[in-house]
């Protein structure tokens, strides 16, 4: 009787242990799904695009025939866009985070700004496109020009930069600031000479990551009028423009198979730039981040 029970118990325990092991394998498998899809994606893009990728492709303007098509106009357009986005969003983003972290009184207004930024981060990017279309394209009558695209993108990544800068500012310990006050420095002197320099690596890392999100964004640019058929390079803020993801979208959407290879080559260039930007972000963080 007792032995029978013990046998049953042993069986039960064994089952539980086996179930645990089996589920562990299942969980591991699920984790690998993400990694495998990522590997497949890279493999697919490389096999489709590498054959078409050449210096000629990088330095050619868009063209209606796939043998001549290149990504140069998209590349230059994206760089112009990034410059506008970086200037606008860094100034406004860092200033916003400084206000929230250093100056904002603990009141409703500061709370509202905080909650608002959290919600802005969840607004679909295409809605920013509609905002840009109404305000920048029509109301400020910029038209379908670089500046309208840049400003729209700047607003889009503003929440990311604000949150990253806030975290960087918060990581500067109070002792350092108090030492500065103790030397007779004013609030702004302390911020400009102590807090900001100490938080700068964190802010830069966050900014580069935000910019790498912007450089791959397509939907809002389509709405504010980045065009695919642009055969000249932009030479001012009010030029007509195109951008890398716009070119890739346009090539992908064409029915002939050859264009898929062109799109693949464009994606390789885009991913390479993203890789470079993210490496720089990691480098900045590891090299210059101070641990207090």
């Amino acid at each position: 009787m007792f032995e029978k029970n013990a046998g049953n118990l042993q069986k039960k325990v064994n089952n539980r242990v086996w179930l645990n092991k089996g589920m562990r394998t299942l969980f591991l498998g699920a984790t690998l799904v993400g990694l495998i899809v990522l590997a497949l994606l890279f493999y697919r893009v490389l096999t489709q695009g590498l054959g078409y990728l050449s210096l000629d492709f990088i330095t050619s303007l868009p063209s209606p025939s796939f043998e001549d098509a290149g990504i140069w106009a998209g590349l230059i357009g994206s760089i112009w866009l990034m410059v506008i986005v970086a200037v606008v969003s860094i100034i406004i983003g860092v200033a916003t985070s400084l206000y929230l972290e250093e100056y904002a009184p603990k009141n409703k207004i500061a709370d509202i700004i905080r909650i608002n930024i959290q919600n802005l981060a969840g607004v679909p990017s295409i809605v920013y496109g509609l905002l840009g279309l109404t305000f920048f394209v029509y109301m400020f009558s910029i038209g379908y020009r670089l500046l309208a695209g840049g400003l729209t993108m700047a607003l889009l990544i503003l929440p990311i930069i604000v949150v990253a800068s806030q975290e960087a500012l918060r990581s500067v310990p109070n002792e350092v600031k108090e030492a500065s006050y103790g030397m007779g420095a004013t609030k702004w002197q302390t911020i400009a000479r102590v807090t900001l320099p100490a938080a700068l690596p964190g802010i830069l890392t966050g900014t580069i990551i935000a910019l790498s999100r912007a450089i791959g964004e397509t939907a809002p640019l389509i709405i504010v009028g980045a065009a695919a058929a642009i055969y000249t390079l932009p030479d001012s803020l009010l030029s007509k423009y195109t951008a890398m993801p716009i070119q890739i979208y346009n090539w992908t959407a064409r029915p002939q198979d050859e264009w898929q290879y062109v799109a693949g080559a464009g994606i390789i260039v885009l991913l390479a730039i993203l890789l470079i930007m993210n490496s720089i972000a990691v480098l900045v963080r590891n090299k210059f981040q101070k641990r207090f």
């Binding site: 608002n116 959290q118 990017s125 295409i126 809605v127 994606i267």
Partner: protein
């Protein structure tokens, strides 16, 4: 007597020193006063952005709803704006269909990844796998769209005969892949926040790891997990490029994922790339659809925030 000279070579006396000091302090004071104002103005840009979005969507939508009634818009089941039929249900249906497919892919995989990373993987494995998973979140959506159209769809076609080039299934699966890292990493954070003392209590009673996960960790981290799923679903609803490229442009009120559908976002892209003239019905319909999309995602984000604040277990 040696003359004291200041660094500009001028004679130094106490009177001018005091003067200089006062002047410096005054400019200093002005800076101290101006800076916060400037910073506040910059901070208010984010508020203006919100107002801008709401104002834009409202104003142009009101223009739209003066021609088409709200009831007609939200109950009509035929969407063909170029012939004047504005029933938004097919677009909402398309969005939901793709979102459901995405959730079916992403919720189990994301949750199981989170459990593995948080409970089973040792530190070394986690430190390798987590950043790689995050790469998935950083891939531009246009690249996912390309992947869906040129890779996933042909594979699906070999399993499902008669599947069209544009279909909701392929787009939904790839949107799901895109939101896996979001569910995985936010849920993992929630599970990590469960204190070890709870786990050890369960181990002390003889639980296996799986039992600890299912009976202790998951219930304790429940609010964070639900919030992560709601956030990810809201991201899927707002996703544009994958859906535009892979799901096609057929407004289609169906629950069959093998058909081509058009989502709200895809319609906005289609209308904006076509020659839609400023002030036309289609131009205004862009904003009515955008408004619907905005409200839908905003409500979901607010729900996620509410859940994670309201039901947070404090230890």
């Amino acid at each position: 007597m040696d003359q004291l000279l200041n660094n500009e070579g001028k004679e130094l006396n106490v009177q001018t020193l005091i003067e200089d000091k006062r002047k410096n302090r005054m400019t200093g004071n002005i800076i101290e006063k101006i800076i916060p104002v400037f910073l506040f103005l910059c901070a208010s840009v984010s508020i203006l952005t919100t107002f801008g979005i709401v104002f834009t969507l409202l104003r142009e939508s009101i223009g739209f709803f003066s021609d088409t009634s709200l009831v007609e818009f939200y109950t009509g089941s035929s969407w063909s704006p170029w012939s004047g039929e504005f029933g938004v249900l097919p677009l909402i249906g398309g969005t939901l269909l793709i979102t459901v497919v995405a959730a079916v892919v992403a919720v189990p995989i994301g949750l199981m990844s989170a459990i593995f990373l948080s409970e089973y993987a040792d530190d070394r494995v986690r430190r390798v796998i987590k950043p790689i998973l995050e790469v998935l979140a950083g891939i531009p959506t246009v690249v996912y769209g390309y992947f869906a159209l040129t890779f996933v769809t042909p594979i699906l076609q070999s399993f499902i005969p008669g599947l069209g080039i544009f279909n909701a299934l392929s787009a939904g699966i790839v949107v799901g892949v895109m939101i896996i890292p979001m569910i995985a990493s936010l849920s993992e954070d929630a599970m990590n926040a469960v204190p070890n003392s709870l786990r050890e209590g369960a181990y002390g009673l003889g639980s296996t790891k799986l039992e600890v996960v299912i009976k202790v960790v998951l219930p304790a981290a429940f609010s964070g997990i639900v919030a992560s799923i709601v956030l990810a679903v809201s991201r899927a609803i707002g996703e544009t490029m994958i859906v535009t490229i892979a799901a096609g442009a057929t407004p289609n009120l169906t629950m069959d994922p093998t058909e081509s559908v058009q989502s709200m976002t895809a319609f906005i892209v289609q209308a904006a790339t076509g020659d839609t003239s400023f002030g036309s019905d289609i131009y205004y319909s862009l904003y009515a659809v955008g408004m619907t999309l905005f409200i839908l995602t905003l409500v979901m984000n607010l729900i996620a925030q509410y859940i994670s604040h309201r039901f947070r277990e404090e230890y």
